[in-house]
């Protein structure tokens, strides 16, 4: 395992070192980043099948735009963790701040604690599994992918939602414009079981305990009679 001391060597060297492994012709595939001290932009733009453990708590945008790598944050993550992730896996052992997984296009984001507001905002294909609860305006304008919440959801869940699938086990404080509860069909139980397994939540919750939410698709084309919803 390669250990990178962020406090000693600095952010720019960290990211350039990880970027230099693009293309995958390396045996240096297991990394540990220590002394993170809440730094922003840790391990952003990684594009290699690396196994990275970030020891401690991170600032903004840790694992931003990740491709291929498995990145585990042992502490809590600041705003925008795994923003625009393309593929790979990001696991936060603690809590996550605002906009976790924002605009993510693929891969899996797992938050073992709670996530703050706007979790999964504008998500475009990422799967997000939150073991705790999520804050308000989560999955705002979410386009595709799945958001699984073992706890509760705050106000205005799924506002102006497109085709993302939302599964919540606990209470939803309120649904946003054009977001409605939908029937759980066999394929949804199946998909949810798989998401819980990949999200390290098997045994913590069963698929049948969840409710599904999605788009009513009433705002897809403008209609003056829906103006009050905007």
């Amino acid at each position: 395992m390669q250990t990178f001391d962020l406090a000693a060597r600095g952010l720019r060297e960290l990211n350039q070192t990880l970027h230099s492994l693009r293309g995958g012709q390396t045996n240096e595939t297991v990394w540990e980043i220590v002394n993170t001290r809440g730094s922003h932009a840790i391990a952003v733009g990684v594009d290699a099948p690396l196994d990275i453990t970030v020891r401690g708590t991170t600032g903004y945008y840790c694992a931003g735009m990740n491709k291929q790598a498995s990145i585990r944050i042992t502490g809590s993550a600041g705003p925008g963790v795994a923003e625009n992730m393309m593929s790979g896996t990001v696991i936060v052992e603690g809590d996550a701040s605002q906009y976790a997984g924002a605009t993510g296009r693929g891969g899996l984001l797992v938050i073992k604690g709670n996530a703050s507001s706007r979790c999964g905002i504008s998500m475009k294909g990422i799967d997000i599994v939150v073991h705790g609860s999520i804050g308000h305006m989560s999955a705002f304008m979410a386009q595709s992918g799945s958001l699984v919440v073992l706890g509760d959801a705050g106000d205005a869940l799924g506002d102006s939602l497109y085709e993302a699938k939302l599964y919540v086990r606990g209470k939803v404080k309120s649904l946003g414009a054009d977001c409605i509860e939908k029937e759980m069909r066999p394929e949804h139980y199946e998909a949810l079981e798989e998401l819980l397994r990949r999200g390290e939540a098997t045994g913590k919750a069963k698929p049948e305990e969840f409710r599904r939410y999605g788009s009513a698709r009433k705002l897809y084309n403008f209609n003056i009679d829906n103006a009050a919803a905007y």
């Binding site: 733009g45 600032g59 923003e83 296009r105 706007r118 905002i121 304008m141």
Partner: protein, 442 residues
Amino acid sequence: MSDFPHTPPRFSATFTPAINAEIRRAAASGIYDIRGGGTKRHLPHFDDLLFLGASISRYPLEGYREKCATDVWLGTRFAKNPIHLDIPVTIAGMSFGALSGPAKEALGRGATEAGTSTTTGDGGMTEEERGHSKTLVYQVLPSRYGMNPDDLRRADAIEVVVGQGAKPGGGGMLLGQKISDRVAMMRNLPKGIDQRSACRHPDWTGPDDLEIKILEIREITDWEKPIYVKIGGARPYYDTALAVKAGADVVVLDGMQGGTAATQDVFIEQVGMPILACIPLAVKALQDLGMHRKVQLIVSGGIRTGADVAKAMAMGADAVAIGTAALVALGDNDPKLEAEYQKLQTTADAYDDWHEGKDPAGITTQDPELFKRFDPVLGGRRLKNYLKVMTLEAQTIARACGKNHLHNLEPEDLVALNVEAAAMAGVPLAGTTWIPGRNGGF
């Protein structure tokens, strides 16, 4: 009954026929008017400025003998690989989706031949544009449609879009007619929906966050690429200062004459400031921070001629960007298509229903039958010609003012024809030494 003459019909200056027509249209349809382009109202503009030219105290350069350079460096503050353009006229961001693939290709061809850059838009990067544009600026927009690290790395510069002149404070809009299979796939949206892009970025709010967002983009791209911040003409002094504070290499400032693919008419016409009023405030912010020319300023919104280029640069811009003018150069709104414009209940030079996707010129459409009418090679050549003419015009003026580089043009070369333009541009009213507002706050 009486023999007295009738009072002739008198139209109201408040309830004009155009206003009444809009009231009737709104009453019938129940939806605001959506259109493309920029503001159509009359505004103080570059037309209200004149150059003084050389005189006894300043001598001119020979038009065909003495060099007047036009090149510009962009991104010299932090980027490892700043951009060097032959001419200071760039092509503004216009999305694939709003424009057809061939139109994007033509912009790339024309700009590359003329030695300048093009800019993506709210639809991601297309092969048509990357393949034909030597220098391509990749926009990071609130919607993040198609955003990915590979395109960030194959861009030559990155532009974080905070706002645009046509609609400062507004998001994008692309109506269902233009959400073709390809556009839907690139944006990860269902086909045929009315797409409304967010007006705010999903993962940052405010200048302190922007600084961290820019840091992230720099880290992803190993500090190689210039990072621009684009702002609409709302509060240019503060927005420019905050963009500089957030770490921008380049500030792109778009006045309300700047176009849009589709936005509410009320937004286009009622929000934002004309570019003439914006430039001095942005330049002052850069000067107050000691960053003028170090952080470059690109201005846009109603740039049409080499004279406009020269005037913008004399006011302190490092370069300009064109959007609407580039589309006209490609063939948009051409009177030779008048019969087809008539069928759309409009007329050449007034067609602005770009959101409907029925453009007879094949430029602002996703209809294959229409966009195959447009020849990207010919379109590229027309754009190159136009860019060359603008450059020659700007050089002609600069030489007349005794300048061996367009960047040496200065406010002292300008006068204003009316009080409004003098106040906004911060140059004296012609024939006087009076700059309204000076010595009394800015």
